[in-house]
Symmetry: D2
Subunit: 388 residues, 4 copies
């Protein structure tokens, strides 16, 4: 491996660059997870987590990856054979669909072109057609990490309401929470799924379900087998500050620190910062004469940008030269986008000059890989940063 002469630029759309103060917090000695100090930590965390999700209801913390929290959302609320409505917004929506099928659910999958978010119009149509209310849940990926497209959750909520349909609304916010505006309660979401390693600025290893009253009611009759993911014993044990099984203590230390940082910055300011960096990044892409994958102006992601290469160009060749020459990791094209796009993560612990370095690396990488690009990209991005 080549020698690293400076800090690696980890500009995949997650895991993100973990702040060093979070890493240091995680290096504190592990404590007794049944003692009073731990109970105080749990209570502090749960108090601080609610506002980040925009909820006053329970937030369940798993010592697991975000994928696990997907499973938790399904097995806690649904029963074998239940129908769920999913939207093909990209690779992760497809994976969640596949998981639902593996668990024995009946998935109705609204097809998509991986350049748009979940369609509120399609949602209304499908739900209206479901007069028997066989659809028990609508599953949407808020921010598709594979495409950089952000679905409009309030419009999906409105679609469900318009259709007067009782389905639960389950939303994956793995790459949006703590980066892109999101409001669990205000938007009428029933289960919000997220992970630790993106906007929450932690290493991977924790995941979350924010849970509405309606979801809790559904849990009482759900018949999918569950034990590890079962909300009830966790919420019960949390009352006293504990967990029914050993929690990932040191990651919780990191969460404590990261929540302090989000609180200090202010959530609205966090969202604005991400939106500004995303806009600057799109300026760069346009300045290079390339296309952003996201095809709807209303749905540009605040946390990552997928850049579409011209026909015949290999996005992974760009990523390779960027990694080897400039020690920067970019996101690969996933699934049907393999080789066609690369993804720039601009989320989490991030600032203007790191973005500038990131875009400089992309620009030089494109040139070195022989992709014909305009030279104005970085300059346009800096204009955006300087003037906003």
């Amino acid at each position: 491996m080549t020698v690293q002469t400076g800090r690696h630029f980890l500009q995949i759309p997650g895991p993100t660059n973990v702040p060093d103060r979070v890493l240091r917090a995680m290096a504190a000695p592990t404590i007794d997870h049944r003692g009073p100090e731990f109970a105080a930590l749990t209570r502090r965390l749960l108090d601080a987590l609610g506002p980040v999700f925009g909820t006053s209801g329970p937030v369940v913390v798993y010592p697991a990856s975000g994928t696990g929290a997907w499973e938790a959302a399904l097995v806690n609320t649904l029963s074998p054979g239940d129908r769920v409505l999913c939207f093909e917004t990209g690779h992760f929506a497809s994976l969640w669909r596949a998981m639902a099928q593996s668990l024995g659910l009946d998935v109705e999958f609204v097809p998509g072109d991986w350049r748009h978010g979940a369609s509120p119009e399609a949602a209304v149509e499908r739900l209206r057609a479901d007069t028997a209310h066989r659809i028990k849940a609508v599953c949407v990926v808020h921010n598709e990490t594979s495409t950089g497209v952000t679905s409009r959750i309030p419009e999906i909520r409105a679609a469900i309401d318009t259709a007067d349909h009782p389905a639960l609304l389950l939303v994956d916010t793995v790459s949006s929470l703590g980066s892109i505006e999101y409001r669990h309660d205000a938007w009428g979401v029933d289960v919000t799924v997220t992970g630790s390693q993106k906007g929450l600025m932690l290493p991977p290893g924790l995941s979350f379900n924010a849970v509405s009253e309606k979801a809790l009611a559904a849990a009482r009759t759900s018949r999918l087998p569950k034990s590890f993911w079962d909300w009830t014993p966790i919420i019960d044990a949390n009352e006293a500050g504990f967990f029914p099984y050993t929690p990932a203590t040191n990651l919780l230390y990191g969460l404590d620190e990261a929540l302090d940082m989000l609180t200090d910055e202010g959530l609205e300011q966090v969202w604005a910062r991400h939106a500004r960096h995303a806009a600057a990044t799109r300026s760069a892409v346009r300045g290079w004469g390339l296309d952003v994958l996201c095809a709807d102006e209303r749905e540009h992601s605040g946390s990552l940008t997928a850049v579409l290469l011209p026909e015949g160009q290999d996005a992974d060749a760009v990523r390779k030269v960027v990694l080897e020459r400039f020690d920067m990791s970019l996101g690969t094209g996933l699934g049907r986008l393999a080789g066609k796009v690369f993804r720039i993560g601009h989320l989490g612990h991030f600032n203007d000059l790191t973005l500038a370095g990131t875009l400089a690396g992309v620009q030089m990488g494109l040139e070195l890989a022989g992709v014909p690009v305009g030279h104005q990209g970085l300059a346009d991005a800096l204009d955006h940063l300087r003037t906003t």
Copy 2:
């Protein structure tokens, strides 16, 4: 909270005292889990893990707690309604039984007194009686963390063989792996379940399944719903050094460091060290005139000792005074043992003088709590340490 004037003694039987070099390793920056550096890490870890389990077969690593690995062992190998044979060795065996029931399995539970390990005689008897081979798996907790009793896995294996029964053998080694002699392949175990936070000297947040050929075969026909826990995509992705979902990168850094430590010390030496500390601890308990909970000399745990208090004495009162006066955490009595025992963890990153400090704290705590004890306990333990 009181001011901490020195290092806390975390002498619960796990999470254990994480070596500071492991904590520092975990504080390294998170890297791209799809890049070449990560692939090299995965391969190094999987190579080093096999010997710790005593297996040349696959070891599946979950970004989850040990409880999750219990669930993984069950859902990968079994189908709804399958019968499993469990042994009431203590609190954790009871929890595993409850999990199996939650997941829709039919549990045959051999009752126990929480002072003995799983009975090989009962195993033979139950399995012989099961002429229809309805029992699909035998589940044993190798080292009952709630009681300090270590079941004799080779004898359970022999029992299955004696009964000529095809059931799988699933073993929980959460508090024994990396502390007490254990040999997955040699002992004919099909799934070994463990967690990171005990003998592996990590914080909680990783868990493991070591999997035999026979277990892999069972997985191909198992019908319990599964997605997150499914072995197949993990083993497949591991081939190339990756994971099907985001792994807990920084805990894997810690694992890398901890495996180096175990390898440097030598697994046989690790087991001998734990056995010696356990023997010294039992000397102390006898010197105090108290009873060790474990009632069979062949089954004393190398990783923890549960101390039974005389009738009328409250074990939690002892724990409280020890915590408040000496800043040491001891394990509480769980389930039916609440108030009757406290547990001394002497596993993981541990040495003679820390054991001496631990036993000194217990001795003083017993005296302060008014438990009538002989004064010879610590002295006897030191004699043991000095002369062995």
Copy 3:
């Protein structure tokens, strides 16, 4: 080297066991030492340092070892050929004397037996005899790290006053500050010298001079050459929160954290804790039938205990077996005490159970080294800890 299976016991009388929170604080990124964040840090540190020295005057912080602060005390206040009165309390007092001679001072050295502190009676006598006031400074080591004897500074002050002598009083508190009662202003000390690596719970690398008005006045006429150690530019730059040359930023982070810890515990409580541990240690020594080196009950050190071995026994052999068998470092006999004593450090970040482990290790080490000792030592120490 042997494998370390638990935490090393660093029971030399400094450097002491650095709290892990101090180590983590030191791992924060280095910042601009001319920026506003640094200025705020400096001011916070200087505000918190005064009370630890017991002074409202300036405290000068050097990026250097304690030896450097000795030199600073001398070169800032004295001129070539000046006479200083020193006391042979042990190895470090002898080293300070040698330094003074190297710097061109004329040292009057009151001989001592390395078992007593500086004699107030001798001080009065020498100062009274110095009717010409050729003696410009009286130099005393408050706590002799080589012997475990604590000189009675208020009585030395009284001696100077009794003799009505204008000499400055320079005191080395390297192994007492933050451990043993000390009051710069109240005791009329002119320069207090200390280092970071003992009671202040930091790694070595910082040292300090607390400076009286009278010392500042002396500095204005002092003619020993000086530049690096010169107080004036440091005190001047400190006004704005800066230093005249690059400060040891990351050690200052550690100092910030350590001062928080001392403040949280409370200085009086810190002193009481050390005194209690020292008394328990002496109980152990007596229980072994050995002698504490310190020969005056009024002068027992709160931070370390030097244990005198019987004739014919080799203290370094004890230290060697303790290091090899129990992974504990004890202090060696220095200078004329080589082989005759070993020293137990019980200062800094320290608690009852670490002391118990320490004394257990010493007791076992004595036995293994073949030193004839009584077995009651540890038990007596625990009695002391339990009942006080």
Copy 4:
């Protein structure tokens, strides 16, 4: 203070960005500085240090700042009233001169314009004029951190030889060692002075003297008072792996790690990397239409670039906007350059994208501060980086 949303850009010319692996190494527990593990560390460090200085002679390590190592170079080799020849290359050369004067030396100061290095021609002239050989040492700052001008040490050496003068050659390499080509032995330097916080990638707190045979000989007759800085006891104690007073253990851990990094990269490659980044930076400055302070093409610094602002522009206003808007620290103009220049550090742990971010920040800062600049600067720098 504003909230930090990403990593601070510490682009002053030192302290530099400390690699996180060095920070983690420093967080290891402090060990006994008189034990075998420490001796092994010392020997490893001293073996690795020589090549970095380009010497096979002794390197003395001080637990002190670089300023202290200046003092050490003087007091070890010179006597009161000795004449030394210094060159006014900038602020730090002036400070060293002032130190020499404070210590009682007689300084002959060759005036300079702060835009050129030490003049070999002037050196020849002054030394030839000194027929009585009253000049005992020639003191040169290799890389003037205040100006970004690198003096040509081999030509200074040649000048001394040409003049056939016996003076010692003392060189300050605080901001060049580990960044800019330097060869203590090959260039005939007698004392090389450096600090830890620049090319060595450590926090401040360690400093160094590499010492020639001739310097050691001079030390034997030198009469400036010395104790802390005295080479002899240090070199003697180092033989066995120890130090005569408590070394800064945890900074030495960091040094160990940093030396590994320099060795892995290779010193020639380290120099080439710095030279390339410096050239790219100068491209940027030219692209902005500004002047680099250094006026001689042969003397451009590889570790920092001082940028001269047009008359009437305030360099500190640029620094202020860069700090406030972009969280980047730049070096201020020192001494007579105050307000006229700002300095960009591009040394130590540094890579292409961090440089790109740095120059982007400077470019935007210049524009925001209203300095009339061309927009091509960053683009030109990137051209340089991409094509070399």
